[in-house]
Symmetry: C2
Subunit: 389 residues, 2 copies
C-alpha cells in the first residue's frame, strides 16, 4: 500500500535527521499526521487518539507508537519493521487516570533516549498541552525544545512523485468543480450539492480515485458568502444567490484545492466588478511567481492590483499545500503575506487564494500552483471567471 518507494521514504528520514542535527535535536517526536505519513507512510483515521513517530538520531528507523487496535494499520500502511511498531493498551485511551505520553516516555527510556534533547511539535493539533505536561513529568532528564515545523519544512519542495499525485488531485478537481457547477441550481438544497461534490470528487477518474480532503467542502452561499468557512445546510438555493465553492481534489492524501464562485441569475454589478478584479489580480500574481521571488513580493503583486481599484485585503493570499490530514490542507510553513521573506524554489506548491470577503458578499477564485523552472503553472486547467447560471 506504499505510495512511494522505500528509497524515497528513507531519503525523507535522512533529510529530517539532517535538520535535527543542524538544530541539535537528538530525538524528534512527530505527532502531525501528515508528517507521520510523509516519513513512514502511516495512513489511518486514528489521530483522534494520541500516537506518534519517534525519529532518533542514533537509530536507523523511526518507531511508530500508537493504540493497540491501530498497530495492524501501521503494519499495513508503513515501511517500518514489525519490531518498530509499538502499541499501548486500550486503557490509555481517553482516560483521565492514564495518559499515552506516560507509556511513550517509558518506551523512550527503555531505548536509552530518556536523557536526550527531545523536540516536540508544540503548536500541532495532535500535541496537546496535556501531552507536553505528561511528557515533562515522565521524562525528567530530557531537555525539551520546540521542533516547530521541522518536518513541514522538509516537505516544502515536492518530489516528482509527489507532484504526480498532486496533478492527479488537480485532475479530480477539474472534473469535480465542473460537475458541481453543472449541478448548482435554484431549488436544490445546499446538502444536495455537497452530496454531488463528494460523489464526483471521490469517484475521480477511471485511472485514479479520490481520497477525502483535509477540509470538507466550504460552500457559503447567498447572504453568507462573506463568511468563507461555512459549510452547508438544508437551505434551498434561490434566484440571486452567489455560491462560493472551495474544494480540493485529493489523491493518496495529496491535495489540489481550487475555489470558484457561481451566481444563480444576473449578478449584481458589484459582484461582476469584484470577479473581474480578482481574475485580473490572480492572473497577474501567477504571472509573477517564479523561483527567486519572495513570498511577500507575491502578495505585493496582488495588492498592487487591488490598490488600482481602491481595494485592500488584510488576510494572507495563500500558503504551501500538498500532503495533509484534517483539519487543514495548509502546511503551516509559507504564507503569501507581508513579512514572509521565504524565497520561492522550483517544485514548491501553493494554494493561491486571494478571496475577497465583505459583510454582505464574497468572491473567490483560487488555484493550486507548482513553481516551475522559470515560472509557475496551475495544476488544474479551469476558467477563471464568475460562473453565471
Amino acid at each position: 500500500m506504499l505510495a512511494f518507494s522505500r528509497e524515497e521514504f528513507q531519503n525523507r528520514v535522512k533529510n529530517v535527521k539532517a535538520k535535527m542535527e543542524e538544530r541539535g535535536i537528538e530525538v524528534l517526536l512527530v505527532t502531525d499526521p501528515a508528517n507521520m505519513c510523509y516519513i513512514s507512510g502511516y495512513n489511518a483515521w486514528s489521530f483522534y487518539v494520541h500516537q506518534m513517530l519517534v525519529v532518533m538520531l542514533d537509530e536507523e528507523e523511526p518507531i511508530w507508537i500508537g493504540r493497540g487496535i491501530d498497530q495492524l494499520g501501521a503494519q499495513k500502511t508503513t515501511w517500518l519493521k514489525r519490531e518498530n511498531i509499538i502499541q499501548y493498551g486500550d486503557d490509555y485511551v481517553q482516560n483521565e487516570i492514564k495518559h499515552p505520553m506516560n507509556f511513550i516516555a517509558n518506551e523512550l527510556i527503555k531505548r536509552g533516549q530518556g536523557n536526550k534533547t527531545v523536540a516536540v511539535e508544540m503548536d500541532n493539533y495532535y500535541f496537546t498541552a496535556k501531552c507536553y505536561m505528561e511528557l515533562n513529568k515522565s521524562l525528567p532528564n530530557a531537555s525539551f525544545v520546540d521542533a516547530k515545523e521541522l518536518v513541514n519544512w522538509v516537505r516544502i519542495v515536492k518530489s516528482e512523485n509527489e507532484i504526480t499525485l498532486m496533478q492527479r488531485a488537480a485532475k479530480i478537481s477539474e472534473i469535480g468543480m465542473a460537475d458541481a457547477i453543472a449541478k448548482a441550481e435554484v431549488g436544490i438544497r445546499e446538502c444536495d450539492l455537497a452530496a454531488e461534490i463528494y460523489r464526483s470528487y471521490l469517484t475521480g477518474t477511471e485511472e485514479f480515485g479520490g481520497d477525502y480532503a483535509a477540509i470538507v467542502p466550504l460552500m457559503p452561499s447567498g447572504e453568507n458568502t462573506g463568511a468563507c468557512h461555512l459549510t452547508w445546510t438544508d437551505r434551498k438555493y434561490k434566484e440571486g444567490d452567489a455560491i462560493i465553492l472551495e474544494l480540493a481534489g485529493c489523491h493518496q492524501r495529496y491535495h489540489s484545492p481550487m475555489a470558484r464562485t457561481i451566481f444563480l441569475g444576473k449578478p449584481t454589478d458589484q459582484m461582476q466588478r469584484t470577479a473581474d478584479i480578482v481574475a485580473e489580480g490572480i492572473n497577474k500574481t501567477l504571472d509573477f511567481i517564479k523561483p527567486g521571488v519572495t513570498c511577500e513580493e507575491i502578495e505585493a503583486t496582488w495588492a498592487s492590483v487591488l490598490r488600482k481599484y481602491g481595494l485592500e485585503k488584510e488576510s494572507r493570499i495563500g500558503y504551501s499545500t500538498g500532503l495533509n490530514f484534517p483539519p487543514d490542507w495548509g502546511e503551516h510553513t509559507i504564507s503569501l503575506r507581508p513579512g514572509d521573506k521565504t524565497v520561492v524554489k522550483e517544485n514548491m506548491t501553493f494554494h493561491v487564494i486571494p478571496g475577497m470577503w465583505f459583510d454582505d458578499f464574497g468572491f473567490e477564485i483560487s488555484e493550486t500552483i507548482r513553481v516551475t523552472k522559470n515560472g509557475c503553472e496551475a495544476l488544474a486547467n479551469f476558467e477563471r471567471k464568475l460562473f453565471v447560471k
Copy 2:
C-alpha cells in the same frame, strides 16, 4: 441559523457556570469546537486556526475570539451579541513570531480577567502545548487549572431537542447503510463505494439533509478488516472480500454512528461464527442497558458472552456520542470498559461498538443507542447480522 432556542443555549451557559463554581473556576477557555458549538451555536470549519469561547463567571454572555475572516461566521451562526465577537488580525495566523494566545490574553486582561483562576481544556486537539505556554507567558497573574472535560460532561445527558437531531441522523444512517450495502459488489473500487456513501448520507431525506460526520467513512476490506481505522483506496473489491463499514449519519453536527459488515461471496465459517457471536453479544448488551447500571457492568455483559465462546476483547466497547466536529465523534467522557463506574442515566447516548479485530480479519456490528426511562433503544432500525452478497 440556530439549531436550538436562545433559552436552550442560555440554559447550557447556566449549567456550565454551575460546574465552574463547583470547581472554583472563574474563567473557562473553551477550545473544543463541539463545546464551542454547544454553548454558542458556532459552526464553521475554522478550528484549524486558534479560536475560543471565553465563559466568565462575572459576565452574562460568553465571548467568541477568533480570526478576522471568521467573525462574520460567528455573527451568522451564534446567538452572541455583536460586541461579544472579537477578532484577531490575520498576521496572527500560523506565524512563528506572533501567537493568537497573546492577543487573547490581552483581551482577558482588558476585561479584568487576567488575575483569575482560568481553566483550559488541557487534552483537547485545539489547545496545543504552544497555546498553553503562550497563555502562561501572557497571563502571569492568572492561576491555571485543567478544565478536563467540563463542558463535555455538561453535554452528557441530551435534551429532547438534541435527541430529535440524533434521531434524524439515525434515519440518515438507515438509508445510507442500506444504499451502501446495495452498492457494494465485486469489481467496483473502494473509492466508488465511498462516493456512494457520501452521496447518500449527505442527501439524507426530503425533510432533512446530511451534515459531514466528524470521522470519514471507515471501510477496511479484504485482508485489512482487522485494521479498523483504515479509510478507502482505489482497490477493486473481489470475491471473498469482507467489507466493514463504520459510518455516521449526521444532522446539524449531531451523529448517529452505525457499523455493519458485508461479505462478498460465501463467508468463511470463522467469519460467520464471529458474526453470530457479535450479534448475540450486542443484543444481550443492549438488553442490559438501563438507567442505574454502570458503564463497566455494560462491558461485563458483553465480555460474558465472549467468554462463553472462549474469546476476549481488550478495547472498550463504546463511548458517549452526539454533537461533534473532526477528528472524533466520541465525547471523551464515558467509555464502556472495565473501571468506568459512571452510572447510566436517561437520555445518555452511546455508540456501542463491540468490534472484533484479529490479525487476518475483523467484524463489526454497532448501534447508537439512547437510554430510555426503563431500558435503551437503538436510534436506527437496521438488521444485526453479516450481510452476504
